[in-house]
């Protein structure tokens, strides 16, 4: 009974960690530019697909992982430079459609070059499961949660201790003021796309041994990352982390105790409830809206 509960809790944490990384990616870009990047899920998919491709090409795992994060990062930068940068200040709907267009281009290119098959990646440290509080987990779970922890610490250090991070924060708070004190906000925008693509891809690489991947896996992952970001209050880093874990855990609980068929619906029911009762997410400050 209790073991079952821990089983759902831990597997929820594992998937939730991926959602959290996607949500952090949404948050980074949203803060830098007020843009919701609907291609975020494609970065996750790219990470997983490329890791499979590179390991199958015979590269050692660490090199494959590094490349599988580096290439999507580059894709993120190219995307910002070619299609997001030129339309700065356009309507929300237009920018959303542009990011959806970009996601279609990425998904289509992967489909054409790597095919429609579902791909699997071997676990990083063998297939022997670990037992914890009566729950049995794939060892890869530790890689996912550990990777997320490292990323969160890294981001915390970056934003609170380095000039680059503080420049990004300043831009998020007030773009004009940031420009006035000499921050290159265009560079901040590019960097935010690079960082969020890297985060998404890393999450994709780490979780693929558990969930497998295919050219169209990014859609649901991206949408759930978006749910996680909104649950936590858009633009709030801590909220994104908690939101991701919460969505993952509730999804796992829903699948275990209610209905596995409706697993994918859980995050969306959750988001409707949260938005209906707390229209600004769980963790956003109570601000008065100016008109």
């Amino acid at each position: 009974m209790l073991a079952e509960f821990f089983q759902y809790l831990f597997s929820g944490f594992t998937v939730g960690a991926t959602y959290a990384m996607a949500a952090l990616g949404f948050t980074l870009i949203y803060n830098a530019s007020n843009v919701i990047n609907f291609a975020q899920g494609e970065f996750i998919m790219l990470g997983g697909m490329l890791a499979v491709l590179f390991t199958q090409a015979g590269l050692p795992l660490p090199v494959a992982v590094l490349l599988a994060v580096a290439v999507p990062t580059l894709v993120g930068v190219v995307m910002e430079k070619t299609v997001i940068g030129p339309v700065k200040g356009a309507d929300t709907v237009n920018i959303i459609i542009i990011t959806i267009g970009a996601s279609l281009v990425i998904r289509g290119l992967v489909q054409v070059t790597l095919g429609k098959n579902t791909r699997a990646l071997p676990a990083f440290s063998g297939d022997a499961p670990i037992t914890l509080l009566g729950a049995v987990l794939p060892s890869q779970s530790l890689w996912v949660t550990g990777g997320t922890a490292v990323v969160v610490l890294g981001l915390w250090y970056y934003f609170s201790r380095t000039m680059g991070g503080k420049a990004m924060l300043a831009t998020a708070i007030n773009r004009t003021a940031a420009q006035l004190v000499g921050i290159n906000t265009g560079w901040v925008l590019t960097l935010s796309f690079a960082l969020s693509a890297a985060l998404g891809a890393l999450g994709g690489v780490l979780v693929t041994p558990i969930t497998m991947t295919s050219y169209d896996a990014g859609v649901m992952l991206g949408l759930k990352g978006f749910v996680a970001a909104v649950v936590g209050g858009l633009g709030n880093g801590m909220g994104a982390l908690v939101g991701g874990l919460l969505v993952g855990v509730l999804e796992a609980m829903g699948a275990g105790y209610l209905s596995s068929a409706y697993k994918d619906a859980v995050p969306f029911v959750l988001i409707l409830l949260i938005l209906f009762f707390m229209p600004r997410g769980l963790f956003s400050a109570k601000t008065t809206e100016r008109v």
Binding site: V87, V93, I97, I98, G101, A102, R107, D264
Partner: protein, 315 residues
């Protein structure tokens, strides 16, 4: 005072549309084009409703395909499993879609921008998952056949019959939309798009108008979902998918926000585009995405308003 002989230029547009629709079936080379035209017209009617919501009232919906799904599945499930006459099932679907829209509109329209996008998106996805999982009723992911539609005990079976029914619906919808946006209701919608606070100050009941236009566009979508399901004769959960919602929003934006004829142009272009791209074998997704991006960068205001501005007339 308006000159009684004065004809609003947009009514010329309506007349031109009716004329084109009257001639089309006689000049179209084969049934493939007739079928494509019918599907364009169905999409155009849905997009007209969605444009009232997005373009005129300024409220985004990323879940509209969900309402199409309600109509389509009402027309498939009710006659098949419960022996309900198809016309009654269509009405029931429209009622259900309207009721759902009304029920969620109050909490949903307290939200703005991305939060509103998220909430409507969630609604659409939940509906899709329900259609996919209730296999006993809906046939699951494989979908189910939809019986023939009978209007006054005349069975609609040939493409020609369908064409005239859908063309008549389209002309009526354009006429209704043109009148609606010039009515006090339409002016209230545009006021609310401009500034919610200002319109509240001059006495516009914002919540009521938002709900009315959301319900109206949901009912439009549900009815056309039913029509489309009967026409195709089959329905799968993909009718209500997120991507279909996105296609509809894209039709609104590409054609032109707050433009009745823009809705038609957007629906025609984006219904035809996948057909044209189908020959590229595997590259169609890439091409479709690329064209979306290009449109948004080059013609951010949409085709019809941009062209109208270039010709020196108001949108």
């Amino acid at each position: 005072m308006r000159d009684p002989r004065h004809v609003d230029p947009r009514h010329w547009g309506l007349a031109a549309l009716a004329a084109v629709l009257a001639v089309l079936p006689f000049v179209l080379p084969n049934s493939f084009y007739l079928d494509l035209t019918i599907r364009m017209a169905i999409n155009a009617i849905i997009v007209l409703g969605l444009n009232l919501l997005i373009g005129f009232a300024g409220q985004i919906s990323f879940g509209h395909a969900g309402f199409i799904g309600i109509g389509a599945y009402a027309s498939a499930v009710l006659p098949t499993h419960y022996g309900v006459p198809p016309m009654l099932a269509l009405g029931a679907g429209a009622l259900a879609a309207g009721a759902l829209a009304a029920a969620v509109s109050y909490p949903i329209f307290k939200l703005k921008g991305h939060y509103l996008a998220m909430a409507t998106l969630g609604l659409g996805i939940i509906l899709t998952i329900a259609f996919r999982n209730e296999a006993a009723l809906t046939g699951g992911p494989d979908g189910m056949p939809v019986p023939t539609l009978e209007i006054f005990s005349v069975a609609l079976s040939s493409d020609r019959q369908w064409y005239w029914v859908v063309a008549a619906m389209l002309v009526f919808s354009v006429w209704a939309s043109l009148n609606l946006i010039d009515s006090p209701f339409g002016r209230a919608l545009r006021a609310l798009h401009g500034s919610e606070v200002a319109s509240k100050v001059v006495g516009v009941d914002i919540a009521r108008y938002k709900m009315a236009v959301f319900v109206m566009s949901a009912v439009f979508a549900s009815i056309m979902g039913s029509v489309s399901a009967h026409y195709v004769g089959f329905v799968t959960p993909s009718v209500s998918e997120f991507f279909h919602s996105i296609e509809l929003v894209t039709m609104v934006v590409v054609g032109g926000m707050a433009s009745v004829f823009g809705s038609l142009v957007g629906a025609v272009l984006l219904t035809a585009l996948p057909q044209l791209l189908a020959t590229f074998e595997g590259w169609e997704t890439v091409a479709f995405g690329g064209i979306l991006i290009l449109f948004m960068i080059v013609l951010p205001r949409g085709l019809v308003p941009t062209l109208a501005a270039r010709l020196g007339k108001g949108g």
